[in-house]
Amino acid sequence: MIIAEQKPFEEIKGLVGSAQKVLVVGCGTCVTVCFAGGSREAAILAASLRMASKLDGDPKDVTDVTVQRQCEWEYLDTIAEQVNEADLVLSLGCGIGVQAIAEHFPKTWVVPGLNTSFLGLPAEQGVWVERCAACGDCILGLTAGVCPIARCSKSLLNGPCGGSQDGHCEVNEDIPCAWQLIYDRLKSLDKLEMLSEIRPPKNWRTSRDGGPRKIVRPDLRLYEEE
């Protein structure tokens, strides 16, 4: 899922600026699960903004609402009235949610309350880790189910580099060496011979390097009846 974290409160205050009627919009999907922008966080942030603006001598009208998924038009339609009444929408969705609101409500000024961090999973209570870089050409079948694009600091296809020590990456002792993990899994699954193959340079066109991406599925498209 998408992992995000809330921006510092002072930065959020700056983004809200002089707007009087503020609508905080939470999202009920990924950012709810990672405790960054669900209904609970939206309500707390709205209350904090009300209190802070009152203390600053400029009390604002801050309300909150949470939709099931900010990244789908049909859910945004349900809050159209509240959005249109607001001077400013503070989105607690990921970057996709913020842009969906901007795109769906052309006359609305929307600002982000979160920093969208990565695609990952909760490793333990309160700990989230990156797992996918959305490169558009999955190689997990070659790397024992451990992604070197997302998890090796250098995205090596023929790792490990010389910086692998005691299972961790040269960048930081908190980063497990992805290639050590790949090695260990291939070894335990008796597939070490896969490491002897040289992987060619990656085609990054399917990643962001080819420009913004789009998928069109003709089989799912709706066509008007002739």
Binding site: P160, G163, Q165, E170, V171
Partner: protein, 341 residues
């Protein structure tokens, strides 16, 4: 012209290749470019190395700190009559920039290249930089080889004219982890096209002997020239730092003890109590011991079957190369004339 050079028995005809192919025990050294645009620094360092090595590695923004480019410094070295080994990392350039730099450096007279992944940029002085790593070191080796032998760019398009004919080097860190995979990774680099290998610093001879035994079992020493990395330790503190903090460096405790012992005459006083002269004398004693240890390591390494030379990394201490090479009995360096086509 290309065919002529290809048929003279060498892949590049570089001095390093000629020395290695003639069966001489090769010596390469290292030159770190300055954090400035001062060509004089390169000339001064070149003067310290002239005659004491067969080729000089020029580092490529080592430890991710911005310095004069390896190719720029290499061009100065060529004009000084020394032969550079251009180090090229995958950290700062994508496949377009790398290939154009290969063409440019060859046109400037450079003939040896060392293909490296590169230290991560978070180590250096621009940790905010976007990293590239479009390709990795093994893929870089393939690119250099395909330019030379197949006359094609990475995309498959043919070169339009003269191809760059590099003697291709790669690095290997025998003691980085997973340690049991390292000889096989070396094999991948050789399979990709590496002609010579320079290893990470070796201080632990039994560990390196064990590595070389595996290398020989795989027959790799017959497919590429393996140069063992060596370097003089400057002080016990430097040795401890390298042992603790640099991945893949093993330093036996007895070597650190020898350095400690060299400083014993000054051990009674704390750092603040030592005069400037005493500190200098202590530093000289440590350095001499570091050089002595390095000479002994080279002499032991020369006995190991399958080792074709040494790569001396005297980091920001190029003056040490002369006494090390002389002390190890590797001076003067051989002069190997090019084969006639």
């Amino acid at each position: 012209m290309a065919d002529q050079r290809a048929s003279n028995g060498y892949v590049s005809g570089s001095n390093l290749e000629r020395v290695l192919k003639s069966g001489n025990f090769a010596v390469t050294a290292e030159l770190g470019p300055p954090q400035s645009a001062d060509a004089e620094v390169i000339r001064k360092k070149a003067a310290l190395l002239r005659g004491y090595c067969d080729a000089v590695n020029i580092t490529d923004n080592q430890t991710a700190i911005v310095r004069m480019s390896s190719i720029g410094a290499g061009a100065i070295l060529v004009s000084e009559g020394l032969e550079p080994v251009i180090q090229m990392t995958c950290r700062d350039r994508n496949r377009l920039a790398i290939q154009s730099d290969l063409l440019g450096s060859y046109a400037l007279g450079m003939r040896n290249i060392l293909c490296l992944t590169g230290d991560h940029q978070t180590f250096g002085n621009h940790p905010q930089a976007k990293n590239v790593f479009d390709i990795d070191s093994i893929q870089l080796i393939q690119i250099v080889k395909n330019l030379r032998d197949e006359h094609v760019f990475q995309c498959g398009d043919p070169l339009k004219g003269l191809e760059p004919r590099f003697f291709i080097g790669a690095a290997e860190s025998p003691f980085a982890h997973p340690i049991e995979f390292r000889p096989y990774r070396l094999g991948k680099k050789i399979k990709a096209g590496a002609n010579f290998i320079q290893t990470q610093l070796v201080f632990d001879i039994p560990a390196f002997e064990a590595f070389m035994e595996k290398v020989r079992a795989l027959g790799l020493h017959q497919q590429a020239y393996i140069l063992a990395g060596v370097g003089p330790l400057k002080s016990p503190a430097m040795a401890k730092y390298m042992k603790e903090s640099v991945p893949g460096i093993l330093i036996p405790p007895e070597l650190i003890q020898r350095l400690e012992d060299a400083g014993l005459p000054w051990a009674g006083k704390s750092k603040d109590e030592l005069t400037k002269e005493e500190k200098k004398a202590r530093s000289e004693a440590w350095k001499q011991t570091g050089i002595d240890i390095c000479i002994e390591l080279i002499q032991k390494i020369m006995q190991i079957e399958g080792v074709a030379g040494v790569h001396i990394m005297a980091i920001e201490w190029e003056e040490a190369v002369e006494p090390i090479v002389k002390g190890a009995g590797l001076y003067p360096r051989p002069v190997v004339e090019p084969l006639i086509a």
